[in-house]
Amino acid sequence: MSQADDDLREEVRTWLAANWESDQKGRSPAGPPAGAATPWLTKVVEARWAVPRWPREWYGRALTDAQARIVELEFAAAGAPGSGQDRANLWANTALAHGTQSFKARIVPALLKGEVGMCLLYSEPGAGSDLAGVRTRAERHGDQFVINGQKVWTSMAADADYGMLIARTDWDAPKHKGLSFFFLPMKQPGVEVRPLRQITDEAHFNEVFLTDAIAPAENLLGPLGGGWGVLLTALAYERSVMGEGARGPRSGSPGPSGETNLIALAREAGRLNDPAMRQDIAQVTAYKMLNRLNTARGKADLAQGASSPIMSLGKLAMSRILHEEARVRTELLGAQSLLEGPNHPRAEDANFLSLNAYFTSIGGGTDQIQRTIIGERMLGLPKEPEVDRDIPFRQVRGV
């Protein structure tokens, strides 16, 4: 520990002691939710604690990662939110990395202070696994882009002020090269948000219909036709946050099943002495523990600078955990699993989980896509022939 580190820690502590009262609102790791703006967040930003890794001209202190961790640790110790946004605020990082000076000057502070709500306009009915196949059309007219198309699986769309949008600006370029990335203003007539009813009978997501929606030219992030690159960095931020166990907007939630563990349920159901069930209970419990151990080891490797393939295995592992837990819960409940509703909470758990598990095994890239990514990026296995890669997008089958 250097003297500089000690001084820094001292400075943060002193500042927190002087400014933090612990009754304040928290933040989601993916950035403050809409309307989460608080005097506190503003204070944190102005005191340059929100993004200590960033340069001074952008509310930062140009600290090293190690130093920034010190700041985050002190904030965590005090239970104070708002720091570490240089790692975790998907929106602000994307804007800072790719926005124009004037746009950044306007949007970045607002994002850090939680003054604007955001959503993701990535997936389309025709572009799920194949995100680069989006067909939402953005055409330049003077100093603005006119956007037409449909997006889906957008959470928080109703409250959002902006959506990070990937749209096609060039139909003659190959699929990855004709895309552009925008901060699309959501509060306008051309944007219609319709809740999407899920198989769980909930509606956490929306379809977003874009009809001559307008994005000012300065809301273009990155170069025209360079949207895929911007999207990849944005997805990387998202994954890094998800990797830390926080649930990004496109990851699943175990739902009620989290409330009680399998052993408790088995005891309650009088099945804890069934040797066959015990094997299943042990295995699912083990899968969960192993996923925690893998994540911890992956983090440790990364902390030591060693690259680790483990992180990207987490989602695949979680998918198996959720589906297997649903299966075992159902078997433990037997006929009870026929029922649902508030009077049958255990059945509700098992049934909800049996459906919501697909959220993780499909959402944010299906298990099949994950296996391809792991095989190619982690194990270095060769890609398949890509029939749609180097031809004009308008000639791709199905377009």
């Binding site: 799920g128 696994s129 196949g133 899920q198 198989i199 699993s337 697909y358 391809t372 199905g398």
Partner: protein
């Protein structure tokens, strides 16, 4: 009993498929499953007219006089279409009890109106624990001066909330006997149970000194129940096999049409190989269900083994196919508007209705002498 040729069976199935194609579409299912009664009285009448409701009821009682083989084929069609209604409860289980019982009077009184669909009957055979074994019966029968009354609880009663007639298994004189109860009689309270499979209806029924008509003179009746349950298990296996096949067909069609990365997703091995495995499960389920039906029809000595095999094979196959189908469809199948989850809900329900797969695997091994 009437005799049916392969052609008779095929035309029966074709006619039913056409009828369900007209009046049992996905839209009809979605509409019907939201109604309190959970069935379409109009479609029910048509099914009765076509002879489906009374298919296995003796011709002397106005039924079709068919056997398990015809029933299984028919259920493959109703399973494929997710038919909502008391076919299994009334036409199969309740009718099966009345035909297995030696109670001429009850048969004469009840079977004709069950066959023509005007009467919906069902059976109350187990308590809150579920299980469908004699030990799980929690209704007691008492006789005073030749008059019987029932007290206790029956649960997981399929379509109990719409039944005109309840056939109740109850403890009487240290055995299990069957009783006929009018659900509107004093001391009967019928509570609908909310079901995860919204095309299903279940009820919990309590009896408190409820007047009941004893059947077959109160003779020990669990063997009768087992015979009716065997017919029901065969029917359910057919429903599961038919459901699995329809889901697989839907999924394969989608895999041919859905293009990602410039290719139909069915051209990717991940999807193609899953589909191949599901075909094996589906064909195995069909084989198991039809074999069980034939064995029961033949009165084969190993019919019980065949029925247990079909019970867990078809339950697991339908569940596996319905579950994999959602994964193979991707996001679109995560929406309420897509039918995939309706099949998964049905598959999960069918797998528990009269005993879970693990129960039947254990039973299968015991029946094999192990």
């Amino acid at each position: 009993m009437a005799t049916f040729t392969q052609e008779d069976r095929a035309s029966l199935a074709d006619g039913l498929r056409r009828l369900l194609g007209d009046f049992g579409t996905e839209a009809d299912v979605r509409r019907t499953m939201e109604t309190p009664d959970g069935y379409d009285s109009d479609l029910w009448r048509r099914l009765a007219e076509m002879g489906i409701v009374g298919l296995t009821i003796d011709e002397i009682f106005g039924g079709g006089g068919a056997g398990p083989v015809e029933l299984e084929r028919v259920m493959e069609e109703t399973g494929a279409a997710l038919l909502c209604g008391p076919l299994l409860s009334s036409g199969v289980l309740a009718a099966g009890l009345l035909q297995a019982l030696h109670d001429e009077d009850a048969a004469t009184r009840l079977l004709p109106s069950i066959a023509d669909g005007k009467r919906v009957a069902t059976a109350a055979l187990t308590g809150d624990a579920g299980g469908w074994t004699p030990e799980t019966v929690t209704v007691d029968a008492a006789e005073t001066a030749g008059a019987w009354s029932l007290s206790g609880v029956a649960s997981f009663v399929t379509h109990g909330q719409i039944a005109d007639t309840l056939l109740v298994a109850a403890r009487a004189r240290g055995t299990i006997a069957l009783f006929e109860v009018d659900p509107t009689a004093d001391g009967v309270s019928v509570t609908p149970l909310p079901t995860f499979d919204r095309t299903l209806r279940l009820a919990r029924i309590t009896f408190s000194r409820t007047g009941a008509r004893v059947l077959a003179g109160g003779a020990p009746a669990w063997d009768v129940v087992e015979r009716a349950l065997d017919m029901t298990r065969v029917a359910l296996a057919g429903e599961q096999a038919g459901g699995a096949r329809r889901v697989l067909d839907m999924t394969v069609d989608y895999a041919k049409a859905r293009v990602q990365f410039g290719r139909p997703i069915g051209s990717f091995q991940a999807i193609k190989h899953m589909a191949a495995d599901l075909l094996l499960e589906t064909e195995s389920a069909t084989s198991a269900a039809r074999h069980a039906a034939q064995a029961l029809a033949d009165g084969a000595s190993d019919a019980g083994v065949a029925i247990s095999l079909a019970a867990f094979t078809c339950a697991d196959a339908f569940s596996a196919v319905a579950a994999a189908s959602i994964q193979m469809h991707g996001g679109i199948a995560f929406t309420w508007a897509h039918p995939a989850h309706l099949y998964l809900r049905r598959a999960r329900a069918d797998a528990q209705l009269f005993g879970a797969p693990a129960f039947y695997r254990e039973r299968y091994l015991r029946q094999l002498g192990a």
